[in-house]
């Protein structure tokens, strides 16, 4: 049997051009499949790591998923705000170590503007507990100063020291706060989280922008020039959400209950891990469809392999007849053909893995910079190995077809192929 497999390998090598093309097709299909799987896992992970070290996310009473969407991903609008008093009550609770206020509602050219405290840059954690880093400049100090996420700066070409104006509302169509430009004091390093797509300003800046506004529109006839805003009380009256860190994690359910039952107004506190999981479930369908499509591409590649082997069979009738004359049984012929298919599939799958590993190593920095997707270069995990095994098993199934055909052919032809 070993001799038969050696002959199969030598025979395949003699047809390396056609088989090579099939092998490349399989390799590309496999690397696509593995890439989708890897991006899927990494996206899930970077999604799950978009916030870290936060024990509770607090907002007005709404759905947990919706709260996460606007508080963490800055997508969609909050249905309601929470009062500054409520925020203070939470922030000063003895179990709470820190509480970061978040105010949303303005934007700059499609990017969300987040009003928060300067403490945000020190406290916010993402990934495996990594802190925010400044690529340029420093945190905002006073009113009308802004810190940009890396993607905002890259896409819009802003540098430290440039000046921008904000729009009211979440789209560029909102009225402009044109009279109160912001100075960019710092730009953050890429994180692969929504932070990259956010413009950070102080809560006081948000208040200052809206001094002469009411109900989402400028008050007619009232215009307060930027240089005079400091004369006003800029302490925020309400915020959109808050991120809370506790002194002891074990207090989390007690604190959640305290917030959910807060008497001043209806509030909601969610555990970010639980809510992110819930949120991920809602995109799981897309994720699975992607995997199904790439699995289909692999199946097409393997069907191509079976077709190539079948097409080559006619030219190899003489070869098979010679082997028969030398004592090879129809079983040997079957094994030879099937082994060839499995060999090509296996080589293709391994090549696909190599292509993916090299490709992802080269593309990882670019993917993070461009799309904020964190792609880890690593050894294939259990899921990927299972996929590779599944591909090879499917390759075996596909190769059974030419194997069976050759078996039939060698029985019918005997020693003298009719061609």
């Amino acid at each position: 049997m070993k001799a038969v497999l050696r002959l199969a390998a030598l025979s395949a090598w003699s047809r390396r051009l056609t088989l090579g093309l099939t092998l490349v097709a399989i390799a590309l299909a496999v690397s696509l499949l593995l890439a989708v799987e890897r991006i899927r896992i990494d996206a899930r992970q970077s999604f799950a790591q978009s916030v870290s070290g936060v024990d509770l996310v607090v907002g007005a009473r709404t759905g947990g998923v919706q709260l996460m969407l606007y508080a963490i991903f800055h997508a969609g609008a909050a249905s309601n705000n929470i009062g500054w008093d409520s925020y203070r009550a939470i922030a000063t609770h003895p179990a709470v170590e820190w509480a970061l206020p978040l105010t949303l509602g303005d934007s700059h050219r499609g990017f969300a503007v987040l009003g928060t405290s300067a403490e945000y840059f020190a406290r916010f954690r993402h990934g495996n507990g990594e802190a925010l880093r400044f690529r340029e400049g420093k945190a905002f100090g006073g009113v009308f100063e802004a810190v940009l996420g890396s993607e905002v700066a890259r896409r819009l070409g802003y540098r430290d020291g440039d000046s921008i104006t904000l729009n009211h509302g979440l789209t560029e169509l909102g009225p402009e706060h044109g009279d109160k430009p912001f100075l960019i004091t710092g730009i953050l390093a890429p994180t692969g989280t929504p932070v990259d797509r956010t413009v950070h300003v102080s809560l006081e800046s948000i208040s200052a922008l809206h001094l002469d506004w009411m109900a989402g529109a400028p008050l007619p006839g009232v215009g307060i020039p930027a240089q005079f805003v400091a004369k006003f009380d800029l302490r925020p009256k309400e915020i959109t959400a808050a991120l809370v860190g506790l002194k002891q994690r074990s207090d989390v359910f007690r604190m959640q209950r305290f917030i959910n039952q807060y008497r001043g107004e209806p509030l909601l506190a969610v555990l970010p891990g639980v809510a992110l999981d819930e949120l991920w479930q809602s995109v799981a369908l897309v994720e699975r469809s992607l995997l199904a499509i790439s699995a289909l591409v692999v199946v097409i590649g393997l069907a191509g392999l079976a077709a190539t082997l079948l097409a080559g069979l006619n030219e190899r009738r003489r070869e098979l007849a010679i082997l028969r004359a030398l004592g090879a049984g129809p079983g040997h012929i079957f094994v030879m053909l099937t082994a060839e298919g499995v060999l090509v599939t296996t080589a293709g799958a391994l090549l696909g893995l190599v292509v993916l590993t090299l490709g992802s190593g080269l593309a990882a920095p670019w993917l993070l910079e461009r799309f904020g997707v964190v792609l880890n270069t690593r050894w294939p995990g259990a899921e990927e190995l299972a996929l590779i095994v599944a591909v090879i098993a499917t390759g075996l199934l596909a190769s059974l077809v030419p194997g069976w055909r050759a078996w039939r052919m060698s029985l019918a032809d005997g020693l003298t192929p009719r061609n």
Binding site: A3, L7, L10, S11, W13, S14, R318, E319, I322, L323, R324, A325, L326, G327, A328, G329, P330, G331, H332, G414, L415, T416
Partner: protein
């Protein structure tokens, strides 16, 4: 002991009413070298397939070296062929992607008996035979596809002879050679089969090659189907 004995053999192809072969009797003694001739389509290749055990007759028996191969199972017939029969075809005899030397050694990979009979080192035996058949050393390691037709036929002869099979079956092995080389090759084959003591069945449509054989048999004379077909 008889090397080959065919008794009351009837064979017809599937889905064909008319028999292709109907041979009441054919007997060869060990070491005998016969020239079997017949026109194209007379069933020569079919007979060789039956002798090789890749096809089974509907009736009758084929005894080779004392065992009736029609009573053996498929695997056993494949094994018998590998162990006891050396085959030589008209052309495209070799696996083009194997070297000449590896082609010669092929029977030893399918049959441990042939390997043992090729001596302690089959490779050395293959080299000896290639040298004996006048193949220059440069060509041994070349892929068979790069050899000339004459060289290929000599490699094929070496392959058929390695491990000293008791029966040698040659199916038009000279048809690709020019007239001068045909006789040289046939003489070589007769000489080599005598050297290993093999019974040789040489099949051809060309009667002019029959000169040096022990016996000349016309397939039409032993095959009753041909008689009936020929009768008006």
């Amino acid at each position: 002991m008889g090397a080959l004995r065919i008794t009351d053999l009837v064979f017809h192809w599937p889905r064909q009413a008319m028999a292709c072969l109907d041979i009441p009797r054919l007997e060869l003694t060990a070491g005998e070298r016969i020239f079997l001739h017949g026109p194209s389509g007379s069933g020569k290749s079919t007979l060789l397939g039956l002798l090789g055990g890749v096809a089974l007759p509907q009736q009758g028996s084929i005894e080779l070296l004392g065992s009736d191969i029609t009573r053996l199972g498929g695997r056993a017939r494949d094994r018998f062929r590998a162990d006891h029969i050396g085959f030589l075809f008209q052309q495209f005899n070799l696996l083009p992607w194997l070297s000449a030397l590896d082609n010669v050694l092929l029977p030893c990979t399918f049959s441990s008996r042939r390997r043992e009979r090729a001596g302690p080192d089959p490779r050395a035996d293959a080299v000896r035979m290639l040298r004996h058949l006048d193949l220059d050393e440069d060509s041994w390691r070349k892929p068979a596809a790069e050899l000339s037709v004459g060289q290929q036929q000599r490699v094929a002869a070496a392959r058929a002879l390695i491990g000293r099979p008791e029966i040698l079956i040659a199916d038009e092995p000279t048809s690709a050679l020019d007239a001068e080389r045909q006789q040289v090759f046939i003489d070589l084959l007769l000489q080599e089969s005598a050297a290993v003591g093999a019974t040789l069945v040489f099949v051809s449509h060309d009667r002019r090659l029959a000169g040096h054989f022990d016996r000349v048999v016309a397939l039409d004379e032993i095959n009753r189907v041909a008689h009936e077909a020929a009768a008006p």
